[in-house]
Symmetry: D2
Subunit: 388 residues, 4 copies
Amino acid sequence: MHASHPRTGVWLVGARGSVATTAVVGAAALRAGLIAPTGCVTEQQDFPHHHLPPLDSLVFAGHDITDTPLPKRAAELAAAGVFPEQLLAPLEDELTAADREIRPGCPAGSTAPQEEAANSLAADIAAFRDREQLDRVVVVNVASTEPPATPHPAHHDLAALRHALRTRSDVLPPSSLYAYAAFTAGCPYVDFTPSPGARLPALDELARAARLPYAGSDGKTGETLVQSALAPMFAARALRVRAWSGTNLLGGGDGATLADPETARSKTDAKRRGLGHMLGHAVEGTVHIDCVPALGEWKTAWDHIAFEGFLGTRMSAQFTWHGCDSALAAPLVLDLARLMAAGHAAGATGPLGALGFFFKDPAGRTEYGLAAQYAELLRFAAAPGGTP
Amino acid sequence: MHASHPRTGVWLVGARGSVATTAVVGAAALRAGLIAPTGCVTEQQDFPHHHLPPLDSLVFAGHDITDTPLPKRAAELAAAGVFPEQLLAPLEDELTAADREIRPGCPAGSTAPQEEAANSLAADIAAFRDREQLDRVVVVNVASTEPPATPHPAHHDLAALRHALRTRSDVLPPSSLYAYAAFTAGCPYVDFTPSPGARLPALDELARAARLPYAGSDGKTGETLVQSALAPMFAARALRVRAWSGTNLLGGGDGATLADPETARSKTDAKRRGLGHMLGHAVEGTVHIDCVPALGEWKTAWDHIAFEGFLGTRMSAQFTWHGCDSALAAPLVLDLARLMAAGHAAGATGPLGALGFFFKDPAGRTEYGLAAQYAELLRFAAAPGGTP
Amino acid sequence: MHASHPRTGVWLVGARGSVATTAVVGAAALRAGLIAPTGCVTEQQDFPHHHLPPLDSLVFAGHDITDTPLPKRAAELAAAGVFPEQLLAPLEDELTAADREIRPGCPAGSTAPQEEAANSLAADIAAFRDREQLDRVVVVNVASTEPPATPHPAHHDLAALRHALRTRSDVLPPSSLYAYAAFTAGCPYVDFTPSPGARLPALDELARAARLPYAGSDGKTGETLVQSALAPMFAARALRVRAWSGTNLLGGGDGATLADPETARSKTDAKRRGLGHMLGHAVEGTVHIDCVPALGEWKTAWDHIAFEGFLGTRMSAQFTWHGCDSALAAPLVLDLARLMAAGHAAGATGPLGALGFFFKDPAGRTEYGLAAQYAELLRFAAAPGGTP
Amino acid sequence: MHASHPRTGVWLVGARGSVATTAVVGAAALRAGLIAPTGCVTEQQDFPHHHLPPLDSLVFAGHDITDTPLPKRAAELAAAGVFPEQLLAPLEDELTAADREIRPGCPAGSTAPQEEAANSLAADIAAFRDREQLDRVVVVNVASTEPPATPHPAHHDLAALRHALRTRSDVLPPSSLYAYAAFTAGCPYVDFTPSPGARLPALDELARAARLPYAGSDGKTGETLVQSALAPMFAARALRVRAWSGTNLLGGGDGATLADPETARSKTDAKRRGLGHMLGHAVEGTVHIDCVPALGEWKTAWDHIAFEGFLGTRMSAQFTWHGCDSALAAPLVLDLARLMAAGHAAGATGPLGALGFFFKDPAGRTEYGLAAQYAELLRFAAAPGGTP
């Protein structure tokens, strides 16, 4: 009965998290005509969308290590103000259906060889694709941020990796194990978090061998988004930024994860790297990520920019950004699923740099400026086969 | 003795104002190797500059209605913190020389027919060009902002305008009389203020007839600059801006001028128009311009942006910009002189829309986004004959 | 059946407005033990409350010119995020009961002599007091802000006022007519808005003759609250404030009312007056009140303070305040009802300056600093008979 | 020739630092009538000053471990914008005179027993008092911040301390050694930094035994100053602060010192402690101190306050403070010298809690609210013998 028109699967790693839940709720609400597609980049009137699977052809499933049902998670998010409570009643059936497609994720600390887990995860994805008769499934990692991966020689070579997985239980961090499973199942993979995911040389090798695209890392939804709009302004105007300092106050989930400086480092390093690229030189300044549970699902960032103009005159700019993380991230998950599907259909392989617009740390590109990234995104969407 | 290499004149209307003084001081300091070209767009390493006259080939002159000598004005600005005092001693001779080239401007309230004044102003400019054996002279209006022009039928037709000027003393506001004089003298004209200047149909007709380019209006140096970097971000991300409110606190000169709501209107209207264009729809919000003499030569802007994301979630962003108006504007005057000279040499006529990057209210374009404007600027500079 | 312990009536002018509705919802929720008394000054642990009627002895009623039932207004405010929706179900009965006590207010534009209206309003209040066997009724004006009153000679003399009311339909603005009615009914009156209310000499005369206290004006809940905490800091530290500029973005109700500059003037004048008093000298700066419907029930204020320190060094401070107007104002209405009741019981007459803590423009005092006002409030509450 | 009227010595530990230099320049400029006493608390018109030594009776001297002459340090600060350059020429003689009174401080890492150094430091101070025929000398520590002291049993007992100093070279951190020397020389001591200074039990014992007052710690000149004005506002209004987060960007001297988290801890701990006291409960939130050399002599703080109002409504406030550290601190040094002299003259001993107004971490008090501290300061100044 699904065969009438092509459908695309979206496999969410962390399928019961705030971002995934909001994405599923939002897609269902859009399909039901209850909301406008605000925040959906690919749904804008002028966006070249004819190569993309329609938004209402997306089918959701995923892995998670918790078992709170999706409708309950949705109710929690509504209570926290992420979306209006009255939206949920008409979507009850759809959320329950999506919840049925969620499989137990890969628990931390297992002592079995990781090959086993990888095969099981890949089988889950493949079974979903078959059962639902989907054209393809895009895997998107929206689970909690991991600390930087412990280096291992097998990360640099696919053959060595395969060998190590057969005997060891700790070669790959979870995000990379999911990427391995996705590629094994023949699926494109998106790193929406700063976790290592597909960005190990051995996994890049695997993606290319399997002729699969991947994209990442770390969805750009707050401070870094604004930075990527403002830093090119200073550069274009030849204003010399002397220091760029930032403080991020994060409420729920990721706030706690990123309070650990070690885990946060992958995120803050990427932020500083991008600034240097956009400004053409390194700048003074520190970026802080604080966990502030009182903020709930919200986050507030403050940036201070000390710059110099003509004749050395000292000036400054500041911005604050007050946003709801899930509401900012969720529509991008839908965008990415559609764009990756188009890239996959067009034969793109390896890092899909044309999607750098969405990421703090774009795989396959060193362009961090938002406008340049947007221009490239439009070119890619218009011709997904042309600019992998 | 000047004949050895081509030189370009820069005729500043309001030559003793803060912006003009800072431009002359800065150009001299650059020539003397005392400062880096911070804030000079066309002096950046990668900027396509081979069609532009070198910065040190610029020669300054202008009109002003006050007679405070330039070195004194420079000392006042240094005392106000615009640039370091010690910079001035080595530039004394150069400032004195520039001061000698300043002629009395056109006083308000004269009862003589305006044709007379126009001819006299044009003669001043032409004499400067001849005396200094300049290739060409670019006229740049950096005088105080005027209120919107009182409509007059002669503004719409060159023949009617010429006729009216012969008998009437109040057909054109001062900025437009200067533009008329510039075109009469065969010079390109830049409106760096929001005053009417060249932007009356009759003057556009004159510019085209004389095969001269003009550019404007209103240098983008603060709130609007940041808006032109941020608004496209909201648009590209499909985030719906619901209200954009702004308050501008201005110290010195223009603060007092713009405290008059009537005068400010030309500026605030342009700001709102640009926002609407960049966002694709009108938005709620008011923009205020307050005169705060205590800020001296500095200005501070605060903008508040209320926007909506996925599922209607309400979010907000704010920025403040704390800058020195003269230090922001002066290097752009140098950039514009060089770019206009190149446009003139390449045969550009009418509004030079490719310079929209510099202006709040770009003549000849409806593109207000900074990144798109910068891309067009680079194309123009690389081939000034190609994109008038 | 009510006679068992003393009860105090709270008569709300504008009883279906956001502030009044929130006050009634909050009082009911407190009584039901559903919330903590956050924002209630007089419910703090150390507050000297033994002279005050208990919070749960308050009984609500009032006038309004609209007829949307209170439970519906409460649902609207919950949908706008002022308080959680789930709070309302258990309070349904209480809201319905309060709604039954609301009488039609005095419509604008009536052509009947105002004495008639005044008597009718007073009769409504007296009937409520009798019916409910209340010790006393405190009338609190939380209706929309009015423009400054059109001056009339009868405002200065009670006998002249009485005479004028007998024949004319437009002597008193509505807020003052309600004050007249309150005093006629023997009730203390609180101006929670900047409207003229009780602050006409003839009404002061009436209050004193009737041995009644009144208090006002204009509840201090945002920008001015913060100013009253910060301005004394600059004064105590001998830092010279040179300019204090403010912009207030208001969403719902009062935003629209105050968008009219004429109406806003009574508010902005009071703000500037208070600053001058606290700083010891007038300061530069403008205060703006903008209506931004997109903000819903919320308001955001930005203040910029330019100040000078030792040796003339220029420095600055900024603050933003993002609050929900009704949530800030409503608990103060409860506080004021309790404090006024205590003052009335203790025989206070005329302006109750000791309540200046709550107001932008304190009747009977020229102290605007928050800490000094708080100290006086504590003294008053401890001995309401001592400091009228 | 000095005997005609009483004079007070001010002995500055860190006499060539930015704060000390600015204090000496400012005092000289005030004496010369070149500036107004902006920022001087005790020079305000209504301040009860009749027990205080006149500002122009202060005589400066001090210890420092560097030897850049004071006039040179003053020129550096003027170039950095702390005060106008033209101020210095007329003060040349006075700065040179003050420079002659600076003695070499106690170098870090000496291996001699500390008693020797203490005696030598005390002798320097005593010699200054005798030579200049001063009534008394107040010692003020404005040297760089030290890390928290390494605990040592001798810190708790004066006899044990005296014994340890005779043989060991590392019992006391420098700030405490200076305090020991001050007390030994019979001088009151002020901790203007967060360093341990006089705040070890053994030193308190010494101060009391010598019948000397001391005061501290850590001059309140930025974020904490504003916190001490704002936090009592939230408390008085019963608004529940849920999180208070702060970021401090510091330029010059102390920025580098405090970049070391260990050193910063004494400062940040005090800040959090004060907040908890003022709010009546602990709050979420982190305070960061970043070194940003690009800010020069300036500092910028941003604070974000998440609070809850009536019915649990979530609201927020933010402030930024942009100030020049030396210009903020220097006049307080003059104030403290005068007030300590008055306290000493009136027989105060031990921690002078009445001066808590000036400090982040007030010795002898747990009151952190600015208004309450100011009220106590006024009482003390009016009767220094009454409230030690």
